[in-house]
Subunit: 338 residues, 2 copies
């Protein structure tokens, strides 16, 4: 069988050799539509590039941009640690960018990575981001893209996530099995997929164990240590009876524990507390706070491996995107052990 060359693709599409070559090398001067046509024709004719020559021509930077909301919480810095380990072993360098949970800042980060000619982007979206946002352009330029934990809606892309529904279910079921009955759930006020999933897990666990759903026990707000303290103060002021609190994340849980201690309520004897994320401090404080471990380093390694498989495939957006879901691990500590 005759070896298919770039010239064959050029003849088939009635465009120049140079346009095909640049389209295959993802040159910015070539339109997305032409690139798509070239890739599809290359696939159809069975074109196989000369790997070495192509890598010399392509001017790959071997830099991967990692875009995260923030690095001052254990969750993200720990996932990044996992990503870096695998990527460095494979000869890639990681540049990091923080969106600070702002969609404007996030789009600036995407733009900066594109200008720095990264070979690809691994990201977790900001809390403000709705829809595909600036990632649409990354896809249009055929630059490989993978997400972890927080994935944009309306963009079919590869991702590694945690089963947040299962996490919410596990936390709540654990509290029920430990004998707690009036379980408060503190969630975020924003309409964020992973938040909604944790809430859904909480609700289903209650229902499956025959416990009523009480709207008074579901609190929404901006999560933080201070917000955790405020929730406890508000619940006590309103006279709402409760014997456990499951929070969206650990800082809020820490605030709940601090406020309960401050008003003389014993944790875990009178009130059980479970957080989410396994922040470093949760095992150091006393009582140590029960939480859900999101298998962060593993998540980073998984998304890096997934990304490397994607890079090997080429034609990044013509395959069905790979989606990996990890099951979180319940860590039962003092705050919910009675």
């Amino acid at each position: 069988m005759k070896k298919i060359t770039i010239l064959d693709i050029a003849k088939e599409l009635n465009i120049t050799f140079s346009t095909v070559a640049r389209a295959l090398n993802d040159h910015p001067a070539i339109s997305a539509a032409t690139k798509k046509a070239v890739r599809e024709t290359a696939d159809r004719l069975g074109y196989r590039p000369n790997k070495v020559a192509s890598s010399l021509r392509s001017g790959k930077t071997k830099i991967i941009g990692v875009l995260v909301p923030r690095l001052d919480v254990s969750f993200f810095s720990s996932v990044v640690h996992g990503i870096e380990g695998v990527m460095n072993e494979n000869g890639y360098t990681i540049l990091l960018y923080q969106s600070q949970e702002s969609v404007k800042q996030e789009n600036k980060g995407i733009d900066t990575f594109l200008r720095s000619r990264v070979d690809g982007i691994i990201a977790s979206i900001s809390l403000e981001t709705e829809g595909p946002g600036g990632y649409e352009e990354v896809k249009e330029r055929n630059i490989p893209l993978a997400f972890f934990d927080r994935v944009p809606q309306g963009l079919d892309v590869p991702s590694v996530t945690i089963d947040d529904y299962r996490g919410g279910f596990m936390a709540t079921e654990h509290l029920i099995k430990a004998g707690y009955r009036r379980i408060v759930h503190i969630n975020g006020y924003r309409n964020v997929h992973i938040f909604n999933e944790r809430l859904r897990g909480y609700l289903d666990a209650l229902t499956q164990h025959g416990l009523p759903i009480d709207e008074d026990l579901i609190v929404k707000g901006d999560f933080s240590l201070e917000f955790g303290r405020k929730c406890v103060r508000d619940l006590l002021a309103k006279g709402t009876a409760f014997d456990a609190v499951f929070t969206l994340e650990d800082f809020t849980a820490m605030g709940v524990v601090q406020e309960l201690k401050a008003v003389g309520k014993h944790v875990p004897k009178e009130v059980g507390v479970v957080g989410f994320a396994n922040e470093a401090f949760t095992s150091l404080v006393s009582p140590a706070v029960s939480t859900l471990d999101q298998r962060t380093v593993e998540m980073g390694e998984e998304v890096a491996q997934l990304f490397l498989r994607l890079l090997k495939k080429g034609n990044y957006y013509s395959h069905k995107p790979e989606k990996i879901v990890l099951i979180p691990k319940l860590l039962v500590r003092e705050s919910s052990s009675r």
Copy 2:
């Protein structure tokens, strides 16, 4: 007085207009020697560039690379927060890179930033870095450079640091004034400037307060929570009498507190403990751990401001470098209050 132009510099040096223009715009094709000659001649003749045109020509990326050892400790992520705040306000974008305390990884980061055409680099060196390392090349290319906290030896560059000697002195003096007499100091085994300064502060505080220096009380190792626990076990096993511990950083202090609690020694009644860095967990644990606050966000803001002043000046390496030293803040908490 006649306005000095690029042509005047070119005539003076007997080189082409284009070479001078490219030298002034820091073009990579021009040698460091030529750039130096051009800059010096420009200064001598009193050449003042047309700012707007020069910015259009220079193709500045408005990207600043920030190179830090690691982002999973509060100290660095908090300084970076300060840097980002100031730089974003001034229209710059920050890309981050972690050296993971490895000099090899650090040099790769410098190279990556240079290839990404950053406008400048703000850095804190790895524990392994001795001498100017890869930063020499940044200087040779006349790319602006500023350091915070950990500054390379043998490279005269602008920096913002903490007075580590004062920090060591303050921690030790506080313990002495609280009535502790046999004060252990846990330091790092590496020959790192900031470590040596904290030790020097400890020694001087003892001497100035008329206390003897006991080599048995000075422990060196690789700091970590586990190492803190080990130190206490070793001291107790050897029967070394001590009533206080001042550690190089907070995780070690946390290990010391945990091990003392485990063997039934009361903190602070029997043993006082002071850490260094004000990691987030130190205020959340009980007893809350006394520590030195390194004014991290302020340090980040200071180094960013210093960097902006440097960018305005141009000719980054022809001025005496600005060096700012901040005084740390002693935070007395439960672990040393008796």
